[in-house]
Amino acid sequence: MSAFDDLQKHYRQRDLAARQWKKEGGKVVGYFCDNVPEEFILVAGLFPLRLSGDPWGDTERIGNYSEQGNVFSREGFVASMLHMILNGKYDFLDYLIIPHARDSIHRLYTTLINLKETDPTLKIPELSYLDNLHTTFYSAGIYNRDRWFGLKKQLEEWTDKEITNERLSQAVAVTNESKRLLKELAALRATDPPLVSGVDALQIIGSSMFMLKEEHNKLLKEYLTGVGQLPARNGARLFVEGSPLDNLQFYEIIESCGATVVAEDNCWGNRIFDVPIDMASDPLEAIIDRYNNKAPCSRMYPLSRRIEYCLRNALESKAQGVIFNIYRFDDIQAWETPDEIKELKEKGIPTLYLKDQPYLIAEPEALKTKIEEFVQGI
């Protein structure tokens, strides 16, 4: 099995490594989003697993739960994750950390707390809420710092083990190495012509959140050594901006039109490894600082930061066109889109705005035609 096959296997069977870990007596911490410091979890000797949804899975189970008071779990991927928790797909989790991210994620915390009380038959792991503020002001940094300290303490309590600076440094070395390797991968996409497809890249990036980092680094290194022999790709270079993409469907459609996704701005793609942790500083402070100042998602203030990020990354990837893929109900993403389109137009970059997209693309052919037309026009 090649390194890529192995990575792909973990992307497809997302709970494989975590279940194996569990079988060997370890404990697993699930988390949402890309702003929970996995370094803390690793140092605590726990397995960090980022939760994702399943567009092909049904969401029937949450029908009973997604009514009044829970009107916020509307984005398909959030509804799907809630469903999977309730349905027992994540029943091997020992703990679940829920960050104060987008509204629907943040509200999963109260939803799950309430469900734990009202329906004891549900197997819901022990929950921890990681608050943080949606600005990067000085005072917000101070507040967030306290919250991260709180999370560290929580993990210490869960494991009855102290999280020392020395071990944090080791974990930072591993996660920084991961970021560095993933940047090499990004460079292979951004080069002209690109050497790696978006579909492959998304799997490699995604699997880093479903495996232990050291294991992933090893496979990724192996993959990167052999990648020089890959055939160069032709066709249009596209940048994808928009809602979280925790599955391949969208990229598969784009790349079946002969184009290549050379970079993206979403929390399952390049955004997760953009900002490394400063190894020269105190590791605890450096980790906190990194999560405070990492590449922003759309819920963050101010808008200019988001626009700058989108524009810079689209330009750096030498994209010939940008596709905006915005899920239905992902309003926070939709609010920034008109400004991003305007800025890109001013730079002469054509855009395709796909709004109100379903989580599961039910009519791939129609979407393909739209994208083909766009690509031909470039």
């Binding site: 009973n64 009514e67 009044q68 309430n114 917000a140």
Partner: protein, 403 residues
């Protein structure tokens, strides 16, 4: 008995409130044209602070209600769609500004604000308010600790009975510290930028006025609760809610006093809002609007919605006892937690108003929770007055209430 519907008579006070609002906006426009500051903020965010500083403020919820009442919602939602923005009720005010047509806008549009304050209650709020400020060319002031941010635990049973005096039990004290600091920063900014002064003494007065205002509300609510048929339509009761945007002012208090007196007068004169009332119901929705199917249910079954969850918000949640002589912290706690919509609270309100059931859009889980809290719940598929809604209501009334 005199039927309000047949005589077409509304409460006098609701017209007075409306007239006052109109006058208030004209006066504000005048003041702004003379160089005075003007602010826009979200509901339950900073109103008392601005009022105490004598900075006129419009609460966007109220502005949106005006737009909707003037039947301009579709027009402004289209403005948003044309610009590729999500067409949501919360952004209609922004659309009015984008459209920039004073001859078309309700009230001729708002005067230009000096500041727009936006909180983190929802992801999109900060962004929409940020864009709105950009559109006006005024300062945007983000508040990071907004309603419900201070709360991470499930609400304890009976919380609503302790909220007024023991609010400190429900809000995380550390987060509350931050919210207080945030308010102080805002106050400093306003003092520097407008030359106006803030005073704790005035804030104490204002909060006492809020409490008085809500006490009148409670008294009126209690009269309505024990009078059958109800003396006041739900529409009129709800239209008093706009006075919550004048919280902490003598005017706000006086409106509620007049409301209470008018309700009392009606009770004494046996005036019935819906004389055919046979079944009393409680209507629960998020927008604070009367049910669209109200007339139908009344005519068909004599089923009348005599109260609404918003009445509970007014009487159980706004009034707060100042603790430790610190009105700013007391207020901060209310800005961080106004209420939880829990079944036990809704059930308590429904029972208090002698309702046989509550009605809301919902499903099986809500029904279970409400039954557990001791009140039957009729769930309807949507807020629309359509066949599906009527069928669900008919079924519930006939099988649960009349059988």
């Amino acid at each position: 008995m005199v039927s309000e519907q047949s005589s077409g008579k509304q409460l006098r006070i609701t017209n007075e409130v409306r007239a006052y609002q109109r006058e208030w906006i004209e006066k504000t426009r005048q003041r702004v044209s003379e160089g005075e500051p003007f602010a826009i903020c979200n509901g339950d965010d900073c109103e008392e602070i601005l009022n105490v500083m004598d900075i006129p403020v419009i609460v966007i919820n109220y502005w949106h209600a005006i737009i909707t009442t003037k039947r301009m919602a579709d027009y402004y939602l289209d403005i948003l769609r044309e610009r590729d923005y999500p067409a949501t009720v919360f952004s209609m005010g922004l659309a009015v500004t984008m459209d920039n047509k004073p001859d078309v806008a309700p009230w001729g549009g708002l005067p230009k604000p000096s500041i727009i304050i936006g909180g983190a209650r929802q992801d999109t709020e900060m962004r929409i308010m940020e864009l709105w400020a950009r559109e006006y060319g005024c300062i945007f002031w983000p508040m990071e600790f907004a309603l419900y941010h201070g709360v991470e635990k499930a609400p304890p049973p009976g919380w609503f009975e302790r909220m007024r005096d023991h609010w400190d039990e429900f809000v995380d004290p550390q987060k509350l510290d931050y919210r207080v600091q945030e308010q102080e920063k805002l106050i400093r900014y306003l003092e520097v930028s407008t030359g106006k002064k803030f005073s704790l003494e005035k804030l104490t007065e204002a909060m006492q006025l809020v409490n008085e205002q809500m006490d009148y509300w409670r008294m009126a609510r209690d009269l309505i609760a024990k009078t059958s048929p109800s003396p006041v339509t739900l529409r009129d009761q709800l239209s008093m809610y706009q006075t919550t945007w004048h919280r902490g002012t003598p005017q706000g208090r006086d409106f509620l006093k007049a409301y209470y007196e008018e309700v009392k007068e009606r009770v004494e004169n046996s005036v019935a809002a819906c004389p055919e009332e046979k079944i009393r119901l409680m209507w629960v929705n998020a927008l604070g609007t009367p049910p669209l199917w109200g007339r139908w249910a009344e005519e068909k079954y004599g089923a009348v919605c005599v109260t609404h969850n918003y009445m509970g918000i007014a009487v159980d949640c706004y009034a707060r006892t100042i603790q430790n002589n610190d009105p700013l912290r007391t207020l901060a706690a209310r800005y961080m937690l106004l209420f939880w919509t829990t079944p036990d609270w809704i059930a308590a309100q429904a029972k208090h108003s002698n309702c046989k059931a509550a009605v809301m859009v919902g499903g099986r889980r809500s029904i279970m929770a409400f039954e557990k809290a001791g009140i039957p719940l009729a769930t309807i598929p949507s807020e629309r007055d359509d066949e599906a809604t009527r069928a669900a209501l008919s079924d519930f009334i006939e099988t649960r209430l009349l059988a």
